[in-house]
Symmetry: C2
């Protein structure tokens, strides 16, 4: 059976997808009996250099030509407005679609998914999370028998590279970011990555597949790594923790936590070992227990691998008399819970004199926050290079506490005359393994 | 749509599967629209205690009743003879089958797969490798666009637990095995696990799915961990390696290596961090690069999760007018290559006197085996507790060499009058990450 695939957007991932479809068409046909052919590839600029030469017969600048000529339309333009119009138009014309556009789907996917459902068409978005890691399929099919409980992800290669550099090379955030930019891992404007938005888009989509609900994007708590101080990375390391930008989707019955923030995880946790630009997703289901999926989270070829797995799945369903849908809606009335319950790492700048700790401890106690340990002052001062100074860092690890209590306590502590500047607050996840 | 599932064999995995199908039927229906119901569960002994109570209306002792009443027959009896008859009979009667029986499929699957193909039926065997890890699906579908190059697996929880104990607790193989048996991780007769057969069955099936050929089982090179000495685990650790029982399926064009043996892998390799009873599979494809899949490799509930993912996939295909097959045959004329090419760790017992190393090095050189390093004698003697003794261990790390050259060199070295007893030979895989 021959299936015609059209691609709109021939950037890094688009070019990789063309390369894969042309180079491995025979392997795919051998494996599945399906002959995939490229109908047309649209891009507005064919003059820019590409890693792989797209045959001139396939090129067009008119996306409508792609929709017209294909059974499956692959959107790889990125951005929100045009991509959305394109996907809706393709669906309207009865074409299945595949996209890697997490930004669009997470913030504005409702309308696209609704249209697909209405038309009995499929929307593949494996490539939108975790590059080549087949995590959407694993959640949707491999773990189909499970009630998914928790999803923890290192979903952004740029930030993971930066944090790995800080941890292993003892460099500041700024230096690590500059290195990432030099290597092409970070954009000139890196805010989508380093401020956590990209991870937040991805965890929204993982929660959609795992829990059966596309939560409003504005409900995701997002905190990036821009203000991370090397000192905290090092103090954490000394405590047996590795700092990661962790994306978390947790449920307790029908209460769901969706959050992205710098997180200390135990260094012997498999997620802690995921370094550089690699991504990993840990899924916990009621039967399977903990499983982890690991690989390159971005890049032309890995992402093309994911795009093509969607194409093949959709191609298999074409000509079947059973309509298939990948979208499911859970009947549980989920509620977003923002009052997270976790351990905290706190660092305050305080004068080096008796009674300071007591004052802070009093406020914490007032809010039922119990202290697990206080780091030895001499050691912290030494690591901070602030021995013998009048203002020194005070580091406290708490037991589990509620986010709202913590926020209130911190506000009150900040008002204590002994506390200088803004405290550092980093959540600790002990269960993420 | 309702699909009837029958189960034969209600041991640990069978019981877990019944529990999952009864407890999570609603979740599965919500996700997929498919209503799975259990028709019958057969076991020859209903008196033994089980973790989960199978409703008496579902119980039978007659496997034929299961075949008769089901759309999908799940074989969970294990062993070879009866399981094979059961699967062939079910297929003959037009039923799709699901099995966790790696032993049967790897040694004797040809006939079963042939029958399934002939009848246009599906054989699900996700549960046969890696417990709950959806690795078969990932290889078959998630990475469908790739030419799979290499598969490295830690596929046996029992041996991985034993090696983890040796590495982390500094105990001997015998002590570690005893602990595994006490915890129920190892059978009273542990030979299937510790001699590498279970891992060999599993890598045969992974190669089948990844490469498209069911290689004759006797072509797999198998070496277990029974003779592993704690000293080598510790010396390896000191060199930056972790010892694992690694299952390897590698290809170079159409030459395939299939092997299971104790293997040193760099300790910063993600596979090295897979400890205790966990399993992991690292797959390398031409587009996706390296991906890794990790989870519990055994146990009632994780394995049930895998069984059910096959059931759901098959159920989706029932009533479709397109016949689906999971089996593919590559047209490449694969050849098994037993002349592996890898680095080696060698340990000899030799007299502590000048000239000994020269003699051994001469033989290695004769076979084009080049020495990468020789471990410092004092250190090795100290770790072995053999300081000042007349016979001391000599440890050599080689560069990459051919297996056959190595075997010949070792035979010759063993004949040197200076070498006592049997040398220790452990392969080193640097690329497995």
């Amino acid at each position: 059976m021959e299936v015609k695939v059209g691609i709109v957007g021939c950037g890094v991932v688009g070019t990789g997808t063309v390369a894969l479809l042309l180079e491995n068409a025979k392997v795919i046909e051998e494996k599945t009996g399906i002959k995939l052919s490229i109908s047309k590839v649209a891009d507005k600029d064919w003059s820019r250099p590409r890693e792989y030469e797209v045959p001139s017969t396939l090129r067009t600048t008119d996306y409508r030509e792609v929709i017209e000529s294909s059974d499956i339309v692959v959107e790889l333009v990125g951005g929100k407005d045009f991509a959305k119009r394109l996907l809706l138009e393709a669906l309207e014309r009865g074409k299945h679609v595949v996209t890697a556009n997490k930004h669009l789907l997470a913030e504005d996917g409702e309308e696209i998914f609704k249209k697909a459902k209405e038309k009995g068409l499929m929307v593949g978005f494996e490539a939108s999370v975790g590059g080549g890691i087949p995590i959407i399929k694993a959640l949707r099919e491999g773990l189909v028998g499970n009630r998914v409980q928790n999803i923890y992800g290192i979903l952004n290669g740029t930030t993971n590279y930066i944090l790995t550099q800080m941890l292993e090379q003892d460099v500041s955030f700024d230096t690590a970011l500059k290195r990432a930019q030099e290597l092409g891992y970070a954009e000139a404007d890196p805010s989508l990555d380093i401020d956590g938005w990209d991870s937040a888009h991805k965890i929204t989509l993982l929660a959609f597949v795992g829990f059966g609900k596309l939560f409003p994007f504005e409900e995701v708590y997002v905190e990036g790594i821009r203000n991370i101080d090397l000192l905290d990375v090092e103090l954490g390391k000394d405590l047996g923790y590795t700092l990661k930008l962790l994306a978390i989707a947790k449920r307790m019955d029908s209460e769901v936590e969706l959050r992205v923030h710098p997180t200390f995880i135990p260094s012997d946790n498999p997620l802690a070992k995921v370094s550089d630009v690699y991504n990993a997703v840990l899924v916990e289901g009621d039967f399977v227990g903990k499983t982890m999926f690991y690989g390159r989270g971005a890049g032309s070829k890995p992402t093309a691998s994911a795009v093509v797995s969607d194409i093949v799945d959709i191609a298999k369903s074409i000509g079947s008399c059973k309509s298939q849908s990948w979208l499911w809606e859970s009947k549980e009335g989920f509620r977003i819970n923002k009052n997270f319950y976790s351990r905290y790492y706190l660092r305050f700048d305080v004068p080096d004199r008796p009674g300071v700790l007591a004052k802070i401890a009093n406020v914490l106690a007032e809010y039922q926050i119990s202290i697990a340990s206080v780091l030895q002052k001499e050691k912290v001062c030494k690591m901070a290079g602030r021995e013998g100074q009048p203002i020194v860092p005070l580091v406290i690890l708490t037991h589990k506490a509620y986010e709202m209590d913590m926020q209130r306590a911190i506000r009150e502590i900040q008002q204590l005359p002994v506390v200088e500047g803004k405290p550092v607050i980093i959540r600790v996840e002990e269960e993420a393994y």
